[in-house]
Subunit: 360 residues, 2 copies
């Protein structure tokens, strides 16, 4: 009898799965974008990146920080997603660089639900993310891959379930925090896309946090400042000190930041020092280089403050990731432990800055 | 002049690297082992696993929790390591499953130094882990891969550097904590081998913590209890509730634990409930199953306590990984954030139990 019941149950599930109704995610609500783009799953499109370096052009196609919001009462959620590349990173989980990460709203908070696991260098992926839920209507937030380009995404629900854009979205796209920076910001080495620190801050606040982290880049080329200044930001965060050399920071930081402050006087700008590279406590060259970078950005800050720019703020790296030296996956890139620590340091500062923003 | 200097420096480095002196790690100090084995980098050898299941036989070859201790004054450390398999895990970084993780002693603590990054499914790996150190004599601790079998390891230092077993090792192999459990214990999804929670506890205390986590297993088969009872443990930790079914726990936990308590009356035994599966807050079947498992192990504990076993202790899962639902990579396996939280809960309990242990 029990076997028969299990067989029937399994047949019912298979039937339900076969009849899954898929919705193209482009018809749902998309968050985490500084400007509209074509196609939608890139952070910057080809027209926006025209004056940028080839490296940033490529990296801007990664879907880091972009998320889909929807409401459904389905008991299960599936996803079909297509990636541009089959990738390998020694320091990032495949779920992080090429997977999906689902949250749902419960008791006024975003709570983690499930992940979509990519196959090994698999371009076409399909996964059940969660099953056996109750049939109350819930709002969901699905983060896209941090280090890969997404070319299509369909979200599947039970055939008779409601599936729509949220009636009252818990992410407010009129409150954008635009963050510009390095691989760390982009999300290496978060265990899943939702653990990059911009994503954590977005969930905690309901702000639409835009992730413009560019692995190995974020070197403050002036055309990037010109592009950022066109975005409807309530606050800018420049966490872009890890990659430029001390000389590049001395040359570029001042005009870059001054452009933002001048073009967007209503918008606070937060500068963040580069996190201390953990191997720099042992490798004397790395340690010295990190110090020179932070000296250079601090000098740019001091000069601009002396010129009277009131909405410029500065966060030293001192406490960013704690003091136990355990917060990175590889000495540079934050693990979830590091991201949680950095989010908890940056979040209360941003809460103050968002109150000072005249761009709301 | 500066260019000439850099060229000379780079030539000197290349020269130094060419002349790296490699030491077979088997001649150094090996920690994290319950019993001696042949070969040395496995957790249990073929003779010890004779009565165990094929799955545990295979998994026992993974080098989880095993670490090499050595002292050197070299300015750099290289490693050559050979793996049995080229692997893919969606939820673990390659550094975690197949890489190396180096710490050194500073100011009476273990501090992170660097990682050895494996290539994509690369069997033979060679990497510089750290460079440009000063030439003071330091003690190092190198963790081996958590989810792969290591078949050879050589550690390379500068040709004129000292390289030896530590004269006074900062891990005390006479204080063994033997931990038995699941994939979580084994180290999925630590970002690097040193972030599995047994490794964190070992660094903080100087105890030799033995990792007998078996992915998808740790199902309390009776021969495992017989094997554990032969190990020179000062304390046993049974974190093995995630994988057996509620029925298996009801059948196996009582005789398994009773055997340990009876054979080794001097050794405290800590039972840990299964961590709440994060998807179980949404997937009603998973949530119910987790509850039934913890009910079953709690009943075994209560029965044994009623029989008068004083050295049996119980840790509920309630606070193990915090309450923000963010501590896993995939709903089951702890990220570094989860491991740090679990280590901080388990560590003070073990400190009390180690004081009660008569096996020192």
């Amino acid at each position: 009898m029990r076997l028969l019941f299990l067989l029937l149950l399994s047949a019912t599930c298979a039937y339900a799965q076969e009849n899954t109704r898929f919705t193209d995610a482009r018809s749902l609500m998309i968050t985490g974008k500084g400007l509209p783009t074509d196609p939608v799953y890139v952070r910057l499109d080809s027209i926006q990146t025209l004056p940028l370096t080839p490296a940033v052009k490529g990296l801007s196609k990664h879907s880091a920080g972009i998320a889909v919001l929807f409401e459904t009462n389905s008991t299960y959620i599936r996803a079909r997603w297509t990636l541009k590349n089959g990738l390998y990173y020694a320091n990032i989980t495949p779920i992080g660089h090429s997977g999906l990460d689902l949250y749902a709203r419960r008791n006024g908070r975003w709570q983690w639900v499930g992940v979509g696991r990519p196959g090994d260098k698999t371009i076409q992926n399909e996964q059940v993310i969660i099953s056996n839920m109750d049939t109350t209507l819930k709002q969901f937030l699905l983060y896209l891959p941090t280090y890969n380009q997404l070319t299509s995404l369909e979200i599947g629900v039970a055939p008779d379930a409601l599936m729509r854009k949220p009636v009252k979205a818990a992410i407010d796209t009129t409150k954008k925090v635009v963050m510009y920076g390095s691989s760390i910001l982009q999300g290496a080495s978060a265990s899943r896309p939702g653990m990059a620190y911009p994503a954590i801050i977005s969930r905690r606040t309901g702000w639409d946090v835009v992730n413009l982290g560019f692995s190995g880049n974020g070197r403050m080329e002036f055309p990037v400042a010109e592009l950022l200044a066109t975005m409807p930001a309530s606050c800018f965060v420049l966490d872009c000190i890890p990659n430029p050399s001390p000389a590049e920071i001395r040359e570029r930081a001042y005009p870059f930041i001054k452009h933002l402050l001048t073009k967007r006087p209503e918008v606070p700008v937060l500068l963040i020092e580069t996190v201390i590279r953990e191997n720099g406590y042992w490798d004397q060259k790395v340690g010295e280089d990190t110090k020179l970078k932070n000296d250079a950005i601090r000098d740019a800050y001091t000069k601009l403050k002396a010129e009277g720019f009131k909405r410029l703020y500065y966060l030293p790296a001192t406490d960013l990731v704690g003091h136990d030296h355990e917060a990175t996956a590889d000495g540079v890139h934050l693990s979830d432990l590091g991201f949680m620590r950095q989010a908890e340091i940056v979040l209360p500062i941003l809460q103050k800055l968002m109150k000072k923003s005249s761009s709301k």
